[in-house]
Symmetry: C3
Subunit: 266 residues, 3 copies
């Protein structure tokens, strides 16, 4: 059976770039089902792209081929990698975009699939000329083993700070996304961190701003003015204020580091 392709880019929809990628995929793998994850990643924002991908992959079928093209280093010598995880395939530049995915538990295999001609043509549009044909090849059920060569998954580029750090009572997290309500998604997976933080006797942001935080796992339980840590629909905990912007109140923006103090004894 043919595999489906899911696209994630920062190309937007005002130009024919996404259309050209899809044309290339249909040229090389006619009839392939293509789904847009999102094309409005902030330009060059690898953190947000990695979050969108990590938050979305579980809702796609096994064998889905994700092509994630957010690539500030296009034309440079970064590799193009193919990661196999959760019985799915992830094509991306090796620039840190896959960091959150790599931090999730589970067996991972990786291949370097950079084509030899990558730096030849200045006029090359990698999404269309490189990622799309690769995705199409995989969609037609190519034997993965024939593509590029296997590499050590530990050799992949990881974003510094994207793994939350708990040292003593200090928890360092990162803002993965700010939604249009000003809610700030942190790199704390709900499943992994939800219980620990719910049991804490006290919780507070100590940097960059300072504020007590209530681990209320539903938005409805918050009092006006109170900062809550909410279990959102995207699988990660979110800093939120009722009827106000947490990003603004706490001076947070996408990619920033946040330090929390966790009082486990009370």
């Amino acid at each position: 059976m043919a595999r489906m392709v899911a696209l994630l880019t920062d190309f937007g929809l005002h130009d024919p770039y996404v259309g050209q990628m899809k044309g290339m995929i249909q040229t090389h793998a006619p009839g392939t089902v293509i789904v847009d994850v999102c094309h409005h990643v902030e330009p060059f924002n690898i953190v947000q792209a990695g979050f969108f991908l990590a938050a979305s992959q579980a809702y796609f079928p096994e064998e889905t081929i994700f092509a994630a093209v957010v690539d500030p280093g296009v034309g440079g010598d970064r590799r193009i990698v193919l990661v196999e995880k959760f019985r799915q395939f992830f094509l991306a530049p090796d620039n840190g975009l896959l960091t959150l995915l790599m931090h999730k538990g589970g067996l991972t295999r990786a291949r370097d699939v950079t084509p030899p001609w990558r730096r030849e043509a200045s006029a090359t549009f990698h999404g269309r000329d490189l990622f799309a044909p690769l995705a199409a090849k995989l969609a037609c059920c190519a034997e993965i083993d024939g593509l590029g060569e296997e590499i050590n998954p530990h050799s992949l580029t990881l974003l510094p700070g994207a793994q939350p750090g708990l040292v003593g009572d200090t928890l360092t997290a990162m803002v993965l996304n700010v939604d249009h309500f000003g809610n700030c998604v942190l790199n704390l997976e709900s499943q992994e961190w939800g219980n620990t933080l719910a049991k804490a006797q006290g919780l507070a942001i100590i940097a960059p701003a300072s504020a007590p935080v209530r681990p209320a796992f539903t938005y409805e339980l918050l009092e006006p003015g109170e900062v809550g840590l909410i279990k959102g629909s995207q699988g990660y905990l979110e800093l939120a204020l009722k009827q106000a912007s947490a990003a603004q109140e706490l001076s947070l923006s996408l990619g920033m580091s946040v330090t929390l103090r966790l009082d486990r004894q009370g």
Copy 2:
């Protein structure tokens, strides 16, 4: 044969929400054809969503499954309903979104398909976790009778004022949409109201503003400054001004009530 799915939401395209819905549909019903009706309904605007749906359904194949997710009451106890009409299927929250569709003539059957777990998880994203799997189940040709239980179509929530009212010479209508030219679509189906109004000796708006109206069924026939009632391409009559915004001139906005005086004798 598999059925196709048509999506209508207020999610926009800047987040991966629509992508996640589509991923879920492909997971549960691989290969399903999915078409976007529109994802830019104004946030929470049930009137506009209902108009987009009522204006679009006739252009989709029989057996199409529409999933319409504009849902200010998400997490509350409103039902999820499945309506069968015009040999098509309509999944929506029971919040009035289907009002215009219900007001169209034709046999209607309805089912309550609310899953029992709807209020369990605070982190639930209903479009993805509830509507998408339901749509997928229907797409795979589920026997409709096995889904939820049949309810009286008259028990569905209807928006007040969405049915035009003609009492004596006073016609009360509602603004279903304002396009970017400022044209105001009214809840007057062209087929039903076109002839009546064309034959009127006089027509005027009397509230909220006051202005004579010309039932000119083509835009080209209007004089500059003249308010016309135009037969638009969406199946409903529209208030329009040549080279000006009817919404601005007549102080109208989406969802508002409009009163017209209809002089049938002259």
Copy 3:
């Protein structure tokens, strides 16, 4: 085998218009693969639409049916034409949109496929009611010969100035697109003009502004402040400035004519 359909319009995505077109295509040709080239052409901008089409077609499969609906004259008496070129099909209003495509070398056949009822209904939405059913008919492998009647391709409407003119040392070109960096795509195909201009001893814009131009075919080679003629990813040469807007510096906008002086002897 069924053919795929590629859509190019200026409808945007805030209304259900594109959705209605797709619904109609699925109604008349169930299961057709539909790809969006772009729906954000500037309203009524035939030059930009023609550029998006000419720059994109090569990336789509043979037999693709392009439906390009940017149509300021909708409702007037312009023809609807079907052009066969590069083993692909192009449906468009005969308003100049296909000019760049026609200027590309290659065998071209054309048919007038205007339906007789085009001016009947004032409420007709041509994209949905005329282009979509035509595209669907072609997608189901209609014999092309049965559609409308063959016409002389030279009878198609062409945009004046869309063919670059080299007279002596004066080259007259046209701005086909301005991207969000302010880069100005000219109607100079890279393959045709790249070598000629690279060999020039000197190159300068002389109207509307005045500036020396460096035929640097990669963006990286430009000095700050220097105007370059760049080989872009869309198949045409582009005027660009490093870290600045060429459109602003050179007072250029979409559709404008640009005059360059080409010094072939040095």
